[in-house]
Subunit: 208 residues, 2 copies
DNA sequence: ACCGTAGCACTAACGGTTAGCATTTTGGAG
DNA sequence: CTCCAAAATGCTAACCGTTAGTGCTACGGT
């Protein structure tokens, strides 16, 4: 009972990792569609049912660590300093995430994803989950007196920014461009802090 | 060659419609997941392969007329009067679409969709297609000198508005609320037409 | 009247996924 | 140390959506 100690959890995590690694290797070697679940299971030396006890679907093998993504986003909202404005915090987090997934080392994986309709579809519904989670985090912030609809809207827009920037020719510039729009959308719902002052317009958005 | 006249086309359309009607009836009677493709085909008195020659997937049976949706959106962009502003045109179109799909008569269908993960997933990727189509239409408008990224962004936001409003407690109010944000986002990329002559002190920072 | 082809039927299979049940491994209680 | 309950894994056999292959039939243009 109580807290299951060490070994069991480690072994389970190890099995999970072995499956994910094997799967990704095979997928990259021979193509996602050309590799069957039964093959992955055999190569990882586990039963098919075991594989499915670790991963809900074949696609989930590829997006193994999507919970990190979710976590980082909510953390960017809940973990920011008092009075730190929301949108810039999200902007720099998205910027980091985009940089991470457009890095050369990640290129083969994203190429594989882009080529498989099943994987694209899966990623899309994953993003919707992330948007919902983010919306909840935004709505829970007492500093932000937003409508439920406004929270969900901004969350969607932010996730859209990630998705669009990832596919853009110049991902980092695209993040800036889209967040410029998001900022405007956000302030339209949040007239409390007028942004007028003459000259600060664009500078604070173009950090780095 | 040329244009195959009359009977053949009518028969084909009739078969398609019969399949769609049968499917929807069975799905609503006994639940989407509880009805198999083989059952639908049998009840519609066609072969399974025939069914799949009319519909690309089981989910497509439910979203039978999604091309109308796409058409209406692009029409709202390309078919508007000269100098008619983009966003309000899209707003009223989305408003109409939301009204249409939140009507009481459509309630059982959307309840079914919301309850089936497969259908939700399908609808999501459908929306992404629609967003891309809409983005193309926006980018093609010579009156709107936008970036490719800005076009795609606005298109996504508009589709998001539809999706969010459909699920909101007060759909029509939600459309207005979200489009208020979209309007602001749009004008952030389009500084040519200031919307509040008096207080708009944002100077034209020439954007890239 | 004739022929090419579009539409359709049938069978068999493939691949992801799951239910059911047996077996092993692990952590903790006695 | 021993023993037990639970967790983890394994195996089999299926279900279901989907597709390839093949052939037949009826329609429409010539």
């Amino acid at each position: 009972m109580t807290v299951p100690s060490g070994r069991r959890e480690r072994k389970k995590a190890a099995t999970r990792q072995k499956i994910a690694d094997t799967a990704l290797r095979l997928f990259l070697e021979r193509g996602y569609d050309a590799v069957g679940i039964r093959e992955v299971a055999a190569e990882a030396d586990v039963a098919v049912t075991t594989l499915f006890s670790h991963f809900a679907s074949k696609e989930a093998l590829v997006f193994e660590q999507d919970e990190d993504f979710e976590q980082r986003l909510t953390q960017a909202v809940t973990g920011r300093a008092p009075h730190e404005p929301l949108i810039p915090a999200l902007r720099s987090e998205i910027q980091a995430l985009v940089r991470h997934c457009t890095a050369d080392s990640a290129a083969p994986i994203w190429r594989m994803i882009d080529e498989s309709p099943a994987l694209r579809k899966y990623e899309e519904s994953m993003r919707l989950r992330h948007a919902e989670t983010l919306a909840t985090a935004i709505a829970a912030d007492p500093e932000l007196p937003q409508t439920a609809t406004a929270s969900r809207t901004i969350a969607r827009f932010v996730i859209d920014a990630y998705s669009l920037a990832r596919e853009a020719a110049e991902p980092e510039a695209a993040v800036d461009e889209i967040f410029w729009m998001i900022e405007a959308a956000w302030e339209a719902t949040c007239p409390s802090r007028p942004r007028i002052p003459s000259s600060d317009t664009r500078e604070q958005v173009t950090r780095r």
